[in-house]
Symmetry: C2
Subunit: 255 residues, 2 copies
DNA sequence: CGGGAATTTGAGCTTTCTCAAGATAGGTGG
DNA sequence: CCACCTATCTTGAGAAAGCTCAAATTCCCG
């Protein structure tokens, strides 16, 4: 156990995420919070999980920023997901023993774990929790499909815009972005690895977005000046981030 | 029910798939086979499932060839998965009500369904079956990640080679390919939509592969003349198709 | 304050795209 | 069985998007 995480500042994004999960009782929430152990902080570039590692439990990102990635033998790297606070590192552990991809911290990243056994017993005794966890893997899948669309079909400026919109909404959802402002502790080279573009081209594309008055950047601080317009440029629609939510739920019409 | 599907030729690929699933008992297998109802055949280009459709049950592809895809408002299309006989159309139905993407037949495609209620009761009463179904969604995810790597990092000739290797192995696994020969009832334009390449470039790339003596094509019949070499060109490793299998399991060293 | 990493910009080049036209093939009605 | 029709495939030519290489600048960390 990590002590009284429920009231602990560091677990706030995770708490927000849990609160957003469909129909989770307070009891379910504290059950999962109380199961968290072994908090640790990884430095940027450190692997949280290596491909082919035997996975011994489920980790949750409490703070920081991480990515899943796959490498080609010649060193090319594709980032296949970004993990923001509140995201799970590998729910697959429930079914599968080994990872087929690596997870690395991009910023100093704090994670906590739930042992496989504890997780299995939680899932077996709490159907709503189980459902909620599967739901969150489905959101991850939906994001992955959208990334494939992004990389397969969109031009560079559309790709970058789309990713910025996605990350803004995801960070906003856990209280880490607001008013168009977000911190992205990733290098341009890492953005390139996520979007299938070269570092140089990421740089030029960001410059173009700045030139169009859509974006301001200052180091790793990003300020989206006009989210609606950026979403239009990126052909971004937030639906995929809310798979399975009631489609009639009123949404801010910022897009 | 569909009658005695167990011995029915048409369900053979699905049976093979079930047999390959980890630790499934004969009892489990017949339980799921007996739950199949409502076989229907869709013509090429017909949607089996539309985005935003309420999903009423789980479909299995028994015969034919289909794809999942997402459309951009301007008509660009990304195919995010190919479904071969034995594949499930939408296991997400267990957790989610609506699809975030469409599924279309590419060849005449026969599917059968399991109602949501029946599926839920199967899953609740048969833990190994439940595990096996989740396992197959994880394989799908692994394929999706690999596709993202493919489109994000690989050059055209690598992409095409990689996809051909993948489809050959997947079809071989269900008895629909052998000796390097496979039928791909997809147009070059559809390959392009899957790989993020234009039709014209798919055509030239196939020509290049033929020129290198790696491939012969005749309409929709493909003959891989040298799988090991094609795999090398495509930087293809079959591991991702076997997520969670014992990594020590002897594998043919054709790659 | 120094040094390595990250960003920025330029220049030329490669891959892939678009547009356009001709060749083929498979399916349909007469 | 043939003729036609539409899809698909194939090839050419020029254009565009994005890449690589290289160098200069800036930023951040210690």
């Amino acid at each position: 156990m990590l002590g009284d995480l429920t009231s602990d500042f560091i677990a706030a994004p995770f708490m927000r995420r849990l609160n957003a999960l469909v129909g989770l009782s307070d009891d379910d929430k504290s059950a999962i919070l109380d199961s968290l152990t072994d908090a640790r902080t990884a430095r940027p570039r450190a692997d949280l999980l290596r491909a082919d590692d035997v996975i011994d439990g489920l980790s949750v990102v409490l703070e920081g920023f991480a990515c899943r990635y796959k490498l080609l033998p010649d060193g090319r790297r594709q980032i296949v997901a970004f993990l923001v606070p509140g995201d799970f590192c590998d729910l697959r552990v429930l079914v599968v023993e080994r990872a087929d991809h690596a997870v690395a911290a991009l910023a100093p990243t704090t994670t906590a774990s739930i042992t496989r056994d504890r997780l299995l017993s939680l899932v077996n005794t709490r159907p709503r929790l189980s459902r909620a966890l599967w739901w969150s893997t489905l959101v991850e899948d939906a994001i992955l499909r959208e990334w494939l669309v992004n990389v397969g079909q969109r031009a560079a400026i559309e790709r970058v815009s789309h990713l910025l919109c996605e990350l803004y909404l995801r960070l906003e959802a856990v209280g880490l972005a607001a008013d168009g402002r977000l911190e992205l502790p990733v290098t341009q080279s890492e953005l390139g690895d996520a979007l299938g573009l070269s570092t140089v081209h990421i740089n030029r594309t960001l410059r173009e977005l700045r030139g169009q008055g859509l974006l301001e950047t200052n180091g790793k601080s990003y300020f989206i000046r006009d989210l609606a317009r950026l979403a239009r440029v990126g052909i971004f629609s937030p639906d995929y981030l809310r798979v399975g939510r009631d489609l009639l739920e009123p949404r801010p019409d910022r897009y």
